[in-house]
């Protein structure tokens, strides 16, 4: 049995779902950030897999993935910076308690 596109997609979907679950249910902003990274990586896997199996010569997916990783890194940096700033001023990173803008 060789590895087919489906296997990668299933892996990607599973990772995405785990990430989504984490992003929607966790209270800690750091965990939410990690979950989001997980979702991004899930899409990276899907992109590379599609690229490899459907247009093997073009490397489009791989290029996209590299962009995506760069953006994810930047996003993580900014996200963590925000979390740090919030933590400094409010001494918590529990998202349910960060509700200044709520009615």
């Amino acid at each position: 049995m060789s590895l087919g596109l489906e296997h990668y997609l299933v892996l990607s979907a599973a990772l995405f779902s785990i990430g989504l679950y984490g992003a929607l249910t966790k209270r800690s902003a750091v965990v939410i950030l990690m979950s989001i990274e997980l979702m991004l990586n899930a899409t990276n896997i899907a992109l590379v897999a599609f690229s490899r199996y459907i247009v093997p010569v073009l490397l489009t997916g791989q290029v996209f993935t590299i962009f995506s990783i760069v953006v994810a890194a930047a996003e993580a940096t900014v996200g963590l910076a925000i979390i740090m700033a919030i933590y400094r001023s409010r001494e918590t990173i529990d998202t349910t308690k960060i509700d200044l803008m709520k009615w």
Binding site: L20, A23, L24, T25, I32, T95, D99, K102, W103
Partner: protein
């Protein structure tokens, strides 16, 4: 002065006082405030110039064919062919007579004011207003267009407002000024409506053209009647005729020379002048002419009754003015221009004199309350003499001025409106009575005032600068009536018959009317004599007790002294309760609660709805995410199921 007056100089007649107003208010008052006399001199020189020019204009008109001078006009408001309003002058006999009255009386009064207003901190302002008033009044009598006349009509009203409220720090003066303006504006409402009606029906507001349209019969019927009555409504307001008479007695809050000039001699007579000026319109509408006569006759007797009981000397004179203006209206209504204007002409002199006399008396005693006067005959001989002459004149004693014009009015009314004639006869009696009541209370008996008062230790005669104008006016109050002895005055104004001087001098006594046992003049003289006698009996000889008579006629006395409750009716019931507290307050409530309430209600409803609905926005991103995912799943399922 053989030559005809040049057009430029005619314009100057009313531009001179206007210039004086500008000089005083723009130059003298800001830069020479420490030299108040200067403004008096400027103003008096200006009016003197106008007076000289008016005489020149009069002689020119006398020698002109058909007694008219043509003065070219300027465009004031022209909008293509749709509307044309010219600013032009009409120089006919009526204008000439009014010019003489206005400039002469104004000149005398402004000279008198130098003494009366001496030391007033607002001396500049006084003369500025006086100049502006004189200019506006002269403009009013000279212009040839109804709309421009309305402009000056309003301006004299404005000056009247400013001068009544001259001592604006006194609440009574400020109130009286406001009242005068608003009440006369009710009349102006009619005047303006008539102007609109005339313009829309004839397309012109040129007075001469309106005359010819009325005479030709093009302007006739309901339109003519409505227009005439609208114009008359304006006159009613300005000339303080019933039922808009309430403002004039209160207007006595102004300085006395102002009362003399504006509220006795000139401005209040502008209503009479207006009717005379538009007389062809009235002549061709029986209803309008009858209205003028009835309102005039009623006002004459109605105001006289109130004059009987007033204790303030200026108020007596004010009611007497209303009554005399009623006479003039009656004269216009039953007789014509000449008769009404002739009385206006005579009245201007003797009534101005009466007011100046009252001013002189108050200058001496510091009060207008006749109960605080008495015995002034000895200390103020000149004032007494001139006041007596004026009183005899207004009472209609032969051969003083008042006799002649009053007699003509009575003569015309017995021929045309017998009922009004009887009212007028009663008024003759009342006039003589209340005037001599004033004379006896003020000058006769003993001084009842407070000798220790701060104003002056003892009453004293006024300075000569005040006496001189009074003497001049006294001469006129005696003589102005003789102008028409030969009928020349009437003829100049377009009516009447010519007689020889001596024949005319006794004309009234030889002129018998069918149905009358003795000549009319005798009857009116006897009535006037009886009035004087009664006043003498009560207030001088004290054969009859004033108190007892008052008690005897208590209800009537109450009615008269409370002025028939007109002030209460207008100010309290109509203005305060019905309008301000009722209608206007209701509208304000509707505005703030109804309309604005609805607006705010919509806003509140929106906010309240938002307050409920926004609960759905928890602010929890994760919850939102959950809903998004559920939504996506739902959409995918739906697409999958539907194939």
């Amino acid at each position: 002065m053989e030559t005809v007056i040049p057009n430029e100089l005619v314009w100057l007649i009313f531009l001179l006082p206007l210039l004086s107003f500008a000089v005083i208010s723009l130059i003298l008052r800001p830069f020479f405030s420490n030299k108040p006399r200067l403004s008096g001199y400027i103003s008096i020189s200006a009016i003197f110039g106008s007076f000289i020019l008016s005489i020149w204009a009069l002689t020119s008109i006398l020698s002109a064919p058909s007694h008219e001078l043509a003065i070219p006009d300027f465009n004031w408001l022209v909008i293509d062919s749709a509307i044309t309003i010219h600013l032009g002058l009409i120089m006919d006999s009526l204008t000439a007579v009014m010019l003489i009255v206005v400039t002469l009386v104004s000149l005398m009064i402004q000279m008198y004011s130098q003494g009366y207003m001496q030391g007033d901190p607002s001396y500049h302002r006084y003369y500025a207003y006086m100049s502006l008033f004189t200019a506006s009044m002269l403009g009013l009598v000279m212009v040839d267009n109804l709309l421009i006349m309305f402009v000056f009509w309003e301006l004299v009203g404005l000056c009247s407002y400013l001068l009544i409220g001259f001592w604006f720090h006194r609440p009574a003066a400020a109130n009286a000024a406001k009242k005068a303006f608003i009440v006369t504006r009710i009349g102006d409402f009619g005047f303006l409506a008539a102007i609109l009606l005339l313009l829309s029906k004839t397309g012109t507001l040129d007075i001469a053209q309106l005359h010819s349209l009325a005479i030709a019969g093009t302007l006739a019927g309901t339109v003519l009647t409505l227009a005439a009555i609208g114009i008359f409504l304006g006159a009613v307001g300005k000339s303080a005729q019933f039922p808009l008479h309430v403002w004039l007695p209160d207007a006595m809050e102004g300085p006395t020379p102002v009362s003399a000039l504006i509220h006795a001699a000139t401005m209040v007579a502008a209503g009479v002048f207006l009717v005379a000026r538009m007389f062809p319109l009235f002549e061709h509408s029986e209803v309008a002419l009858l209205t003028v006569a009835i309102i005039g006759g009623l006002t004459a007797i109605f105001a006289a009754t109130m004059g009987l009981v007033m204790t303030d000397i200026k108020r007596v004179l004010a009611y007497s003015t209303i009554s005399q203006l009623g006479y003039m209206m009656l004269g216009l209504g039953v007789g014509g221009i000449a008769i009404g204007i002739f009385h206006l002409f005579n009245h201007a002199f003797f009534k101005a004199l009466l007011f100046l006399g009252a001013g002189s008396v108050s200058h001496a005693t510091g009060t207008f309350d006749m109960r605080q006067m008495g015995g002034l005959r000895k200390v103020m001989p000149w004032t007494y003499a001139t006041f007596l002459i004026a009183s005899l004149s207004i009472a209609g004693i032969w051969p003083l001025a008042g006799f002649w014009s009053k007699d003509e009015i009575l003569l015309s009314s017995i021929n045309n409106q017998p009922i009004l004639f009887y009212l007028a006869m009663v008024t003759v009696f009342m006039t003589a009575f209340y005037m001599f009541r004033v004379v006896f209370l003020t000058f006769g008996g003993q001084y009842r005032g407070d000798n220790s008062g701060s104003h002056s230790a003892r009453p004293h005669e006024s300075p000569s600068v005040m006496i001189m104008p009074m003497v001049v006016l006294a001469v006129l109050a005696v003589g102005s009536g003789w102008l028409n002895v030969t009928g020349g005055f009437s003829q100049f104004l377009g009516g009447g018959e010519t007689r020889g001087f001596f024949e005319g001098l006794f004309h009234g006594f030889t002129h018998t009317l069918p149905g009358l046992p003795i000549p009319l003049a005798w009857i009116s003289l006897i009535l006037a004599g009886l009035g004087i006698l009664l006043a003498y009996a009560i207030y001088s000889a004290r054969w009859l007790s004033a108190e007892r008579i008052t008690r005897l006629f208590a209800p009537l006395h109450m009615l008269f002294s409370r002025k028939y409750w007109f002030d209460e009716l207008y100010e309290h019931i109509i203005a305060r309760i019905v309008l301000l507290k009722g209608l206007f307050a209701g509208l304000k409530f509707f505005d703030s609660r109804g309309i604005d309430g609805a607006v705010n209600g919509i806003a509140r409803t929106t906010v309240a709805t938002g307050r409920v609905i926004r609960k759905a926005q928890t602010g929890q991103l994760q919850l939102y995410g959950m809903f998004i995912i559920l939504g996506v799943v739902a959409i995918i399922l739906a697409m999958y199921l539907s194939g």
